[in-house]
């Protein structure tokens, strides 16, 4: 059943009910055939129309159920057309289904749909879209009900989920419209409580998140996206600045124990949610006390993520009863097998802290001034250890770590801090604002250069790096233009320190063969998943190429994996989202003896693969208030030697309220019939 019977998705009607095999791109490529690997998706109803696979689906009954769920489960009641309009819609449809409808009810429904165009947000407004589609395209089915010729068949299973473009795009699926609405209403505590439902490190993700949500913000279709990240910071700062006690109360203690490897974002997040459920969690962290936080700590310099503020988020988790054992490395101090024996479940979240080799001549020679790697440099600087850095520092790479390295180099006292990157500024994977930040601080950039060979003096001290100029050719798989060397363009960049920062890998040496845990060729932990295929026959994968719906259980019973070591090196927010799911799966495993995904998990994955945001959508709205960006310290002084003061300063409360007012609250409801 890969054929679409009817689709109005994207405001384009494809009707194959009378035969024909017109294709619907979204249905073919974006949606899986089955909801959960077993039950097929019969119909999909949402904010942008209806996709009908199975012609047997009673679309009138589905529309009635959709309207009911919108009104009873999701409508916030905070505007009159929404509160009352969806009620009229629900009751009118219910009347039709009950056989008491009249033809004029159909006109009423269309009238209500039009009135709901005046709603405060898009939840109720968009809920009318598929309902009207069914009235306009399945009128005969409605009339059959109205004439009393049809009765609902029942036993249809509907899966319903509330989403929003930003929430869907956020890897942690934070209920962004809700937390922004709470800020709008000056309920900072409530805002933070909403954030914490999906993000236990709000102070962190309010500062250093690459905020993919903002790339799916519908306000951008009007003018510019809402400053979602800084609003999160506002909510978390309010609690801190008012010395308020976090309100979380863990449930009654359960008698199951979980060990977590690594006190990074994934480990901490999983511990947070498991502790809330009443489980005893013990985190083993290789670094000493005071350096918890994993990559957030040793990978993100303090001028972006002040230590005391990160520590507060960690302390809050500790205060919930999570034990963190520092200075203990799994594989060295305790073996993984032993850990598994001592605990009911184990979560592996060791992160990705091993620098990748650069492939430059001389890198294995142990020259003075050639440092092990960007991430090692950042860690040592963070921990106040000698880094081996000189005065003229070259960093090789184009990602956030490379940028952090050149900026930290300035703060560690470098006179020159130079970034070498083989493509141009435009292709840099680092976040634009990070690159701009480096620029602001006086970092020098050498674009379109590829280091070939380390140049040293007679004392084996680095004196420079020989590079070759590059030029950009055709785009590669990543869509970025592929650089290639320009013959004969070799030149030397003088420096006394060379830091390769071209990426990092997980160090999985602690996962010994006797565990039976499989590891991918990208050095990540293999976890179990539910295979989902599109109608076009392709496996559905996430953006990192991993299977879409993963259970996060490794090949060893009771051992789960999460974070960078499971996904591949990514972001704090991705690790948190992934760990939150791991926590839920671990709970199911501990309580029911089985690790599995729920309908809600599948629905979440299906929507994120489908994409809730449409960058081409015309959004009618008056662009009266421009995006507000947070205050920032500018100038080179902010990166002077030893100055790790925070660079970005957040919003005042009233600025936050003003920015929150820009949010269009783009909620929408998805319903899948299986």
């Amino acid at each position: 059943m890969t054929q679409v019977t009817f689709s109005s998705w994207g405001r384009q009607v494809i009707d194959n009910r009378q035969g024909g095999d017109a294709e619907v791109d979204v249905a073919k490529k974006k949606l899986p055939i089955s909801f959960d690997g077993e039950k097929n998706i019969a119909a999909f109803m949402g904010w942008d129309g209806l996709i009908l696979h199975d012609p047997q689906v009673d679309v009138v009954a589905m529309a009635a159920e959709y309207a009911k769920r919108v009104q009873e489960d999701f409508c916030c009641a905070k505007c009159s057309p929404g509160k009352k309009g969806t009620r009229v819609m629900q009751d009118t449809l219910a009347r039709i289904i009950d056989g008491h409808g009249e033809e004029k009810d159909l006109a009423t429904l269309e009238n209500i749909a039009e009135l709901m165009q005046n709603c405060k947000c898009t939840l109720c407004m968009t809920s009318a879209v598929p309902v009207v589609d069914t009235i306009q395209n399945f009128r005969e089915d409605y009339l059959a009900y109205i004439r009393g010729e049809r009765k609902p068949k029942g036993n249809v299973e509907y899966k319903v989920k509330l989403t929003a473009p930003c929430q869907d795009k956020c890897p942690a699926h934070i209920d962004i419209p809700a937390y922004i609405e709470a800020i709008k209403d000056r309920h900072y505590d409530e805002s933070l409580a909403i954030i914490r439902e999906s993000m236990p490190l709000p102070a962190v993700c309010g500062r250093v998140c690459p905020h993919p949500c903002e790339t799916a913000c519908r306000r951008a279709n009007v003018d510019d996206s809402v400053n979602i990240m800084v609003l999160k910071r506002t909510a978390s700062e309010y609690e801190r600045q008012h010395n308020l006690q976090p309100p979380m109360l863990p449930k009654e203690k359960k008698n199951k124990k979980i060990a977590i490897v690594g006190a990074g974002p994934a480990g901490l997040a999983a511990a947070y949610y498991l502790a809330l459920e009443g489980y005893s969690c013990t985190i083993y962290e290789a670094l000493p006390e005071g350096f918890g936080g994993g990559m957030i700590a040793v990978g993100i310099p303090a001028y972006r993520m002040p230590r005391h503020i990160l520590q507060r988020d960690i302390d809050i988790i500790s205060a919930m009863g999570v034990e963190i054992i520092y200075d203990t490395r799994i594989g060295t101090d305790i073996s993984l097998v032993e850990l598994k024996q001592r605990f009911d479940a184990v979560l592996l979240a060791p992160g990705a802290h091993r620098s990748k080799p650069m492939g430059v001549e001389g890198e294995d020679e142990g020259y003075d001034g050639f440092l092990a790697g960007g991430i090692d440099f950042l860690r040592e600087a963070y921990m106040g250890k000698p880094t081996g850095m000189g005065k003229k520092v070259c960093v090789v790479g184009g990602g956030n770590t490379a940028i952090d390295c050149v900026r930290v180099a300035l703060r560690e006292g470098a006179e020159d801090s130079i970034l070498l990157y083989r493509r141009t500024r435009k292709e840099m994977p680092a976040d634009v604002w990070e690159v701009d930040g480096a620029d602001d601080e006086g970092v020098q950039f050498e674009f379109l250069v590829l280091p070939k060979k380390i140049v040293v003096d007679e004392n084996r001290q680095v004196t420079g790096v020989e590079c070759v100029r590059m030029e950009l050719g055709e785009p590669d798989d990543s869509g970025r233009r592929r650089p290639s060397p320009v013959a004969g363009s070799e030149f030397i960049v003088e420096c006394d320190t060379l830091i390769p920062a071209i990426g990092q890998d997980p160090d999985l040496s602690f996962i010994t063969e006797d565990t039976g845990i499989e590891i991918t060729r990208w050095n990540t932990v293999v976890t179990k998943f539910v295979p989902l295929k599109s109608a076009a026959g392709r496996d559905l994968n996430d953006d990192m190429g991993n299977p879409l719906s993963r259970i996060l259980l490794t090949d060893m019973d009771g051992v789960f994996a999460s974070g960078d070591a499971e996904i591949g090196p990514l972001t704090v927010v991705a690790c948190v989202g992934n760990a939150h799911r791991a926590a839920k799966v671990i709970q199911r495993y501990l309580e029911e003896g089985q690790a599995y995904l729920t309908d809600d998990d599948f629905h979440e994955d299906i929507l994120s693969h489908l994409g809730v945001y449409d960058k081409h959508e015309e959004v009618p709205w008056l662009d009266a208030v421009a995006r507000f960006n947070q205050h920032e310290i500018h100038g080179k002084e902010r990166a002077s030697a030893g100055n790790y003061e925070e660079v970005e300063l957040g919003f005042s409360d009233s600025e936050a309220v003003q920015e929150a007012e820009r949010c269009l609250r783009c909620y929408r409801v998805s319903m899948i019939a299986v």
Binding site: Q71, E72, D73, F74, C75, C76, A77, K78, C79, S80, P81, K83, K84, G85, T86, R87, V88, Q90, D91, T108, N111, I112, L115, Q117, N118, C119, K120, D185, R186, H187, Q241, H242, N243, L244, E618, P620, W621, L622, D623, A624, V625, S652, D653, S654, V657, E661
Partner: protein
């Protein structure tokens, strides 16, 4: 400025203005239902929908800011249809009980429907409204009448800061619900409700709004002196309302203002003069008073007579009271309860700063950068100050420091809560001052220009030992530094202090320490201010009128200026004079044989037991009051005065505004306006019946004092409250006061203070506040309760050196270990018996009963 076009008319408005307000400038009225000026726009009702050229949907005028060049249409067929249909949606299942609905006649829903011509209903839906909520005290909620405008929710959250109301449930079942624990029962939700959803239970079914006469007046429960309308029918007060527009309180009221009027028409009111408990005629009662005065004066001299006046009386009444005693009776033995608080703040502020009250308007607090609330609970002592603090710190990014032994409501909004140890106020103020200097947060130029004794200031601060401050206050240096930074880095600072400071035995020294901090932090310049709070309604007027032995009206030194008054009054003025403490002693020794208590009740004085005992020794006790108390029972003569609703006159708010009371109802029974009683006594005693009128008193005041300057008395025009001479410190005229006293509190401490639902003892006669707080409870920390083995509701006996009492216990998270709190308002609990003379705190022993 942003220029735009609305309905073809060009208009320019400041950036950030909403389309609705821009249209109003053009006198274009866009219909609204959920819009309310004093809260942030909600955009809930959607009937203010307008069209904007180029935008393919309607936008709501109330919450859409203007943009340059936009072309807005507010009237069109399409918009009319949308507005009417949205109103029809709102009206689905709205009950048709308008005839008995409390809002009938003043219902915005009715008015809007009428204006929009909504006269039919096209839509239908199942009625899923939840039932009436009747279990809340004082307020009933009728969900079926609700239009979900959220005005109540927002006023509760944004203006009052109680954050008690919220939208519960989803869809059409959604309704306004309440967290009862945080409700302040201020009634503002009732006041802003556009329909009959939020109903005042005491008012319900009592009267039709259109049948009520609204008399503009002033609430005298606290010194905020909110401007109100007394709603009257016949000779009865039915409710109190307040307009948003044109009032200093912006239409906001507290539990006292909104629900506290019940005592006025109480059946217990004293309605006739009493002699030895029996009703007598006015003539006979006054004859007894005058003849006794004359007899005692002859036998023992005028100094055997004394009187205490009250902040419940008007300016004119207090003026007449002191004149009566000084000129007609011939003694300067006059004082009031201000002796136990407000006078201490006054003397410290006057001495150090030349300040005699608050230095700025209450409304100025709402605009400052940092507010320091020191030893005060503004929510209880002067709610309008709380609302301004809400505005400053919650709407305008101001910072808040709360220095208080207890956690108070404002603590939750504080950037710094300094929970200092009892008795360590001076150390805390000194420590903050020292830290301001240490951290380079003082303005040297400003201090050099304004302070007379800069050298002493520096020496005194240099001598402050921060380590000792940490030990004394029990606060960490980090906490103190953070607070000093908040105080020192602000451009405009407001310092509010209250009863914990002024009513304590070292009240004058503690007030002086705060005056010093005000100098250092710059609270006396710019838009900042220093605000001494005293919970009693006309305390400022009482102080202004010189009802104390040391001052004449207008703060003129008695000894120095009495000749001027003697001349004006054409009499000899006595010398000497005893204050309240002296009067008490002299009663005990028998030297004072006659006491006149005018609208004041010693049961609420510290060491009240000693007072009550002394009253029994008097040869004659005259009590002028409105309700029967233990004190009226002891009185030989009871003269029934009246409540604020029955009198006219002026009162002065804590921020120096002079406002008029308008007589709303006739005095109940045979009671008489208090000034009328004083005037008649004056006439009888001086044998020259003088005719007093308000204007003659004010003319006399103007000629004898410089209190008012060019003050304009505007009679009943409440929209123009008059300001006394504003405070302007002169260069080199601020004096840093040297303080050497200190106190170390030992043992379990009992603090007495004001309840947040009651005002003096008067409101304990009003059913509204009683419904919320029926009795005085002894509040105790969980730690102390556990140590003493007591639970909530247990009976606890407290004993101090002056007395003991028994009361019910409330375990409260607001108290630190070692501190108990009890409201003084309830004479039944009688906590003031335990409090030593002139104090508000004592060491107590507790025992479970």
């Amino acid at each position: 400025m942003v220029s735009l076009t609305i309905d073809g008319n060009a208009v320019s408005v400041p950036k950030g203005t909403m389309i609705l307000e821009a249209a109003r400038q053009l006198e274009i009225q866009i219909p609204t239902l959920c819009w309310l000026q004093k809260i942030s726009p909600t955009g809930a009702c959607r009937i203010c929908a307008v069209e904007i050229e180029g935008i393919d949907r309607t936008m709501t005028a109330c919450n859409t800011p203007v943009k340059a060049g936009i072309v807005v249409t507010t009237q069109s067929e399409k918009l009319t249809r949308i507005r009417k249909q949205i109103m029809e949606l709102i009206l689905i299942n709205h009950p048709l009980d308008c005839p008995v609905c409390d809002a009938g006649g003043e219902c915005e829903l009715q008015n809007t429907c009428y204006d929009l011509g909504v006269n039919r209903q096209e839509f239908e839906a199942e009625d899923v409204n939840p039932g009436v909520i009747d279990h809340w005290p004082l307020i009933q909620q009728v969900p079926s009448r609700c239009v979900m405008c959220e005005k109540c929710v927002k006023v509760c959250h944004e203006v009052v800061g109680a954050n008690s109301l919220f939208v519960n449930d989803k869809g059409d079942k959604a309704f306004i619900d309440k967290n009862l624990e945080s409700c302040e029962f201020c009634g503002n939700c009732v006041a802003v409700c556009p329909t009959g959803t939020m109903i005042s239970k005491p008012f319900k079914f009592k009267a039709r709004p259109w049948a009520l006469r609204k008399v503009p007046s002033v609430c005298t429960y606290c010194p905020s002196q909110c401007q109100i309308d007394i709603n009257v029918q016949g000779n009865e007060v039915f409710r109190i309302t307040s307009d948003d527009a044109g009032t200093t309180n912006n239409g906001n009221l507290c539990i006292g203002g909104f629900f506290g009027y019940g005592y006025i028409n109480s059946s217990k009111r004293l309605t006739s003069p009493l002699r030895d408990g029996k009703a007598v005629s006015w003539d006979s009662a006054l004859e007894t008073v005058t003849s006794t005065i004359e007899r005692i004066r002859q036998e023992s001299g005028a100094d055997a007579l004394a009187g205490l006046a009250s902040p419940r009386l008007t300016n004119e009444e207090n003026y007449l009271f002191q004149k009566l005693f000084r000129a007609a009776i011939g003694t300067n033995n006059i004082d009031s309860e201000a002796r136990f608080g407000a006078l201490r703040a006054l003397s410290a502020l006057d001495k150090g700063l030349g300040l005699r009250g608050a230095s700025n308007l209450i409304s100025a607090i709402g605009d400052v950068d940092t507010v320091l609330v020191f030893g005060a609970d503004p929510t209880a002592e002067a709610p309008a100050v709380d609302w301004q603090i809400q505005r400053a710190v919650r709407n305008k990014d101001g910072k808040l420091i709360v220095a208080n032994m207890r956690r108070i409501k404002l603590t939750q909004f504080a950037n710094s809560q300094l929970s200092y140890k009892p008795g360590s106020e001076i150390a805390l103020a000194d420590g903050l001052g020292r830290l301001l200097v240490n951290r380079g947060l003082i303005d040297e130029d400003y201090l050099t220009r304004t302070v007379a004794n800069l050298g002493e200031l520096k020496d005194q601060l240099a001598a402050v030992d921060l380590e000792q401050v940490v030990v004394t206050t029990g606060l960490s240096l980090t906490e103190l530094e953070a607070a000093a930074d908040l105080l020192g880095k602000a451009d405009n600072v407001a310092i509010v202090f209250g009863a914990d400071i002024t009513k304590s035995s070292l009240g004058t020294a503690r007030s002086a320490a705060i005056a010093n901090l005000a100098i250092l932090s710059g609270a006396l310049r710019g838009q900042g201010g220093l605000y001494p709070l005293d919970e009693k309604g006309n305390i400022q007027g009482l102080l202004d009128m010189g009802v104390c032995p040391e001052k004449l009206p207008g703060f003129q030194n008695y000894a120095e200026h009495k000749a001027k008054f003697a001349k004006a009054w054409n009499c000899q003025l006595p010398s000497g004079g005893k204050d309240a403490e002296g009067i008490l002693q002299d009663i005990e020794t028998g030297e004072i044989r006659f006491l006149y208590l005018a609208a004041t009740n010693p049961q609420s004085f510290p060491n009240s037991g000693r007072w009550m005992k002394a009253l029994q020794k008097l040869e004659m006790l005259v009590v002028q009051d409105i309700l029967p108390t233990e004190v009226t029972r002891l009185a030989n003569i009871v003269l029934p005065g009246v409540s604020f609703a029955e009198k006219s006159g002026s009162v002065t708010s804590l921020d120096q505004r002079v406002r008029s009371l308008e007589q709303a109802i006739r005095p109940v029974g045979d009671s008489r306006e208090d000034w009328d009683i004083f005037a008649e006594l004056y006439g009888r005693l001086s044998k020259t019946p003088l005719t007093f009128s308000r204007s003659s008193i004010l003319t006399e005041l103007s000629s004898l004092t410089s209190l008012y300057g060019d003050v304009c008395f505007t009679g009943s025009d409440r929209h123009r409250p008059c300001l006394k001479q504003p405070y302007r410190p002169v260069d080199k005229n601020l004096h840093f006061q040297l303080i050497s006293v200190n106190e170390e509190a030992e043992g379990l401490q009992l603090l007495s203070g004001k309840s947040s639902s009651h005002f003096g003892t008067t409101s304990t006669w009003a059913s509204g506040p009683l419904e919320v707080e029926a009795e005085g409870l002894i509040q105790i920390s969980a730690e102390d309760a556990q140590a003493a083995g007591i639970k909530d509701g247990d009976q606890l006996k407290l004993t101090s050196t002056t007395g003991s009492t028994t009361g019910k216990v409330l375990i409260s998270g607001t108290l630190p270990q070692g501190l108990l709190f009890a409201p003084y308002n309830f004479t039944e609990l009688g906590i003031q018996q335990l409090i030593p003379d002139g104090d508000n705190r004592t060491t107590v022993q507790l025992a479970k009963v």
